[in-house]
Amino acid sequence: MAIKTRNFDEARRQASTNWELIWWVFMRVSGLLLILLLWMHIYIGPKLISIKAYDFTLLALALLHGTNGSRYILDDYVHNGSLRVILKSTLYVLVAVLLLAGGLFVAKL
């Protein structure tokens, strides 16, 4: 279950599993990095930044942050168990395909 709290000590107490706590920390760390990376992406422009590591880091962090956020939302609002599994699986497959595609695309640049 998603952690809903306002500081790390509470988060540690609330975490149902170690992974849930790791995702809680990941959302904060990736969120901060995404602010910096996206600022460069939008204002400096994708044409000026064509560094493979930069592009792939941005894609991977954004997709993982967005997927985990979607997981929180689906867990909270989709009460039908089998529908929730279908929606989550579809999302995970889609994201895996796009991560792979992004990797292949960056590798060919």
């Binding site: 809903k4 306002r6 500081n7 790390f8 988060a11 904060r28 969120g31 901060l32 995404l34 602010i35 996206l38 939008i42 894609l59 954004a62 997709l63 967005g66 997927t67 956020g69 979607s70 939302i73 889609l94 994201v95 796009l98 595609a101 992004g102 292949l104 695309f105 060919k108």
Partner: protein, 120 residues
Amino acid sequence: MYRGGEGQWAYYLHRFAGALIILYLLLHATEMTAPVFGSDFAAAVAGWFRTASYKLLQLLAVGAIIYHGLNGIRIMLMDFTSWGTRIQKYVWYVVIIVFFLMYVPIVNYQLPQILNLGGH
């Protein structure tokens, strides 16, 4: 859990903006990596990514990203400082003001260009 008020609005807007962003990101990542799925696929979808509808979604997503990022800073202040939660209500008003300062010029610049594309 937030007993109504500013924090509640901040929370729902954060989720709504996040959902909009992941929707846009899935499309944008498809747009950028389309050649990987074959040149036929890339050619088939290229036109749609130039339509006014997609550009409009993009403009909305930029707004969502600005709010989500600013409010994300507010969340991190609550999580990692001793004073963030005490002043979160006021920080949210700062978030809203900075959001408008950043987003209005972008809309002002982009929207006329998108509307010039017409309904194509």
